[in-house]
C-alpha cells in the first residue's frame, strides 16, 4: 500500500471567549468560516468527519455529537464519522485521526471540527467537571483539578532548577501581548508581568493570570491528499511528522513533575518522522495551559537545555526574533482554552502564518516549518504534529 502525503486545505474559527452562544451555534460559526475559506469544494465530496470534543456530556448534556455536527455543517460523511476524545488534546486527536485515515487511503476528504462550550450559568459545574480529567476515583476525589497539579509541577521545577514566578509571569505577558493581535482571542488586553504577580492566588505558586481561561469556541480544518490539495487552495499546509505518548495516569505513578518524559518521547518521534531537529522549526504552538507548562515544554521539546526554560523566556528567545517564537496567536493563556477546539485553533495559526495572513506584528516571516503540541489531563499524554509549507 502506498501511503499518501496529507495537506490541510482550509481552516475556520468561531471567536473564542465567554460566548453568548450554544455548543451547536459555535459549530455553525466555525463551519461558515471554514467554507468561506475554501474554493471549488462540493460538500458532497467530504467523505469523513472527525469531531474533537472533550466533555459535551458534561458541558452541553449531549453525547453522540458527530452526527449532530454532520447535520449542522451540511455533510453526509460516508467513509468515517466519529468523535475523538482526549481531554485537552481532543482537537489535535481529530486531526491526527483524519490524517491517518487519509494516509491509508480510507478517506479522501475529511473535515475536522473541534469544539467546546465551557461557560455555564453556574461555573461550579464547570469546575467540577474539570476534575474528572484527572483520575477521578483516586486523584480527582482529593479535590484536585488542573491548577493544583500544575502548581506542583511549578513547585518542583522551581525547587530543582531555580525557576522563578517572575519568569512564569513573563510567559503570560508574552502570550497576552500576542492575543491583542488576534481578534478571535478571549483576552484582548495587555497583562504586564507585574499584573500577573499581583493577581489572585489560585493554587500557589500559580495565580489567576498563570492559568488559561474557561472558554467557549470552535475551530475547523479540511484535510485531503497532496494530489487533491491544489484543487482547493494555492497554499496547502502539509503534515510532515507526528509523535504521541501516554505515560501513567494515577499521579502516584509519575516519574517526575519537572521533566515531562512522555513529551520527550513524543517530540523525538515527531522530529524523527519529519526528518528534522527541533531547531529546524521556524515557530511552534505549545500547550501553555499554565505558564509553567510552556517553560517545561521549551526544555522537553528540545528548544533549550533542561532547566533553562526560565532563562529562555527571560532572554526573549520565545518571542519573535528569538530562537523559537512560541504561541504567536496568543497561546491558551491569551486565546483561551476551549478544550476540543484548542488543538485545531493552533493549526489554524500555523496555516495563517504559512499564508502570511496574520497581522504583521506576529508574523514569523518566511516560516517553512512549524509544530503544534498539546498535552492532556495531568500532562500524562503529549501529542505533536509537524507541518511544512512543502510536503517533505
Amino acid at each position: 500500500m502506498s501511503l499518501k502525503n496529507v495537506a490541510i486545505v482550509a481552516c475556520g474559527l468561531a471567536p473564542f471567549g465567554v460566548r453568548k452562544a450554544t455548543w451547536r451555534e459555535l459549530v455553525q460559526e466555525a463551519s461558515k468560516s471554514l467554507f468561506d475559506d475554501v474554493q471549488n469544494l462540493d460538500k458532497k465530496d467530504i467523505d469523513s468527519l472527525f469531531v474533537g470534543a472533550a466533555m459535551p456530556e458534561r458541558f452541553a448534556f449531549q453525547s453522540h455529537v458527530a452526527p449532530l455536527v454532520a447535520e449542522q455543517v451540511g455533510i453526509v460523511p460516508h467513509k468515517v464519522v466519529t468523535r475523538t476524545e482526549l481531554a485537552c488534546s481532543s482537537g489535535q486527536s481529530a486531526v491526527r485521526t483524519a490524517w491517518a485515515s487519509i494516509v491509508t487511503g480510507l478517506s479522501d476528504i475529511a473535515l475536522c471540527m473541534g469544539v467546546e462550550k465551557m461557560n455555564m450559568p453556574n461555573m461550579l459545574e464547570t469546575q467540577t467537571s474539570m476534575a474528572c480529567v484527572l483520575e477521578r476515583e483516586w486523584d480527582g476525589v482529593q479535590g484536585a483539578s488542573a491548577p493544583p497539579f500544575f502548581a506542583m509541577c511549578a513547585q518542583r521545577h522551581m525547587h530543582k532548577y531555580g525557576t522563578t514566578v517572575e519568569q512564569m509571569a513573563m510567559v503570560s505577558e508574552k502570550n497576552h501581548h500576542f492575543s491583542t493581535t488576534n481578534p478571535y482571542a478571549q483576552f484582548q488586553k495587555e497583562i504586564p508581568a507585574e499584573k500577573v504577580l499581583g493577581s489572585p492566588m489560585i493554587a500557589p505558586p500559580l495565580r489567576l493570570f498563570d492559568c488559561s481561561g474557561i472558554t467557549d469556541g470552535a475551530a475547523a480544518v479540511i484535510l485531503t491528499s497532496e494530489e487533491r490539495a491544489k484543487e482547493f487552495t494555492d497554499t496547502p499546509t502539509y503534515i510532515i511528522g507526528s509523535g504521541q505518548c501516554s505515560m501513567a495516569s494515577n499521579l502516584a505513578n509519575y516519574k517526575s513533575l519537572s521533566t515531562w518524559h512522555p513529551l520527550k518521547i513524543a517530540a523525538k518521534e515527531a522530529y524523527r518522522s519529519a526528518k528534522i531537529g527541533p531547531m529546524d522549526l521556524d515557530f511552534a504552538e505549545l500547550h501553555d495551559c499554565f505558564t509553567i507548562s510552556e517553560i517545561i515544554e521549551y526544555e522537553d521539546a528540545g528548544f533549550c537545555e533542561k532547566g533553562e526554560g526560565g532563562k529562555f523566556i527571560e532572554e526573549g528567545q520565545s518571542n519573535i526574533g528569538g530562537k523559537m517564537p512560541i504561541n504567536t496567536r496568543g497561546g491558551l493563556l491569551g486565546t483561551g482554552h476551549p478544550l476540543g477546539a484548542t488543538g485545531i485553533g493552533q493549526i489554524v495559526e500555523v496555516m495563517q502564518q504559512f499564508r502570511s495572513t496574520v497581522p504583521k506584528e506576529r508574523l514569523v516571516d518566511g516560516a517553512e516549518m512549524a509544530m503544534t503540541h498539546n498535552l492532556s489531563g495531568a500532562a500524562n499524554v503529549h501529542s505533536i504534529l509537524v507541518f511544512g509549507r512543502s510536503p517533505t
Binding site: L124, E125, Q127, T128, M130, A131, R136, E137, W138, D139, G140, V141, Q142, G143, A144, S145, P147, P148, A151, M152, C153, Q155, R156, H159, P200, M201, I202, A203, P204, P205, L206, N250, L251, A252, N253, Y254, L257
Partner: protein, 145 residues
Amino acid sequence: MTTIVLPYMLDFYPLQDEDNTRVHQFYASLREGKLTTTKCKNCGGLFWPPRVACPGCNSDQFEWVELPDEGELYAFTAMLLGAPLGMEKDVPFVLGMVLLDGTEFKVLSRIGNTKYEDCGIGMRVKLETYELEDGRVWFRFVPVD
C-alpha cells in the same frame, strides 16, 4: 422534587462495597486505619491503586499487602479558588503528593491539620483515615507530630 439518595454515581468518592467493586477489601482495611494495595502473586508486581488483573504478567492472582503509613511530601499546593462541587466548604485546603516510605508511589492526598505556609518539601506526614458523612471511608495525610 426528586431526592437523590447518596451515594449517587456522579459524586467524587468511589463506591466501596462488594456489590460495586472487586477491591472492596481496600476500603474494609482503610476502615481499620490501614492503607493497603494488591501485590501480584505471580510476578510480585506491586501496584497503586489496587488491581484485579496484572498489567505486567496478566495474572489475576493477588494478595493484599499493607503500605507504609508514613512518607514525605514530594510536592504540595493549596486549593484556594475553584474547588469542585461538595468541596467548596473545605477551601482552603492543602494537597500534596506523599512519597510513601520504601516505595516509588507518590500518592496524591489532602494534607490535613496544617496550612500551606507551614508545609515544606520533604516534610514527614502520616496516614489518617476518616468516615464520610454517608458512611463511606476515606484517607488523608497529616504532619507527623
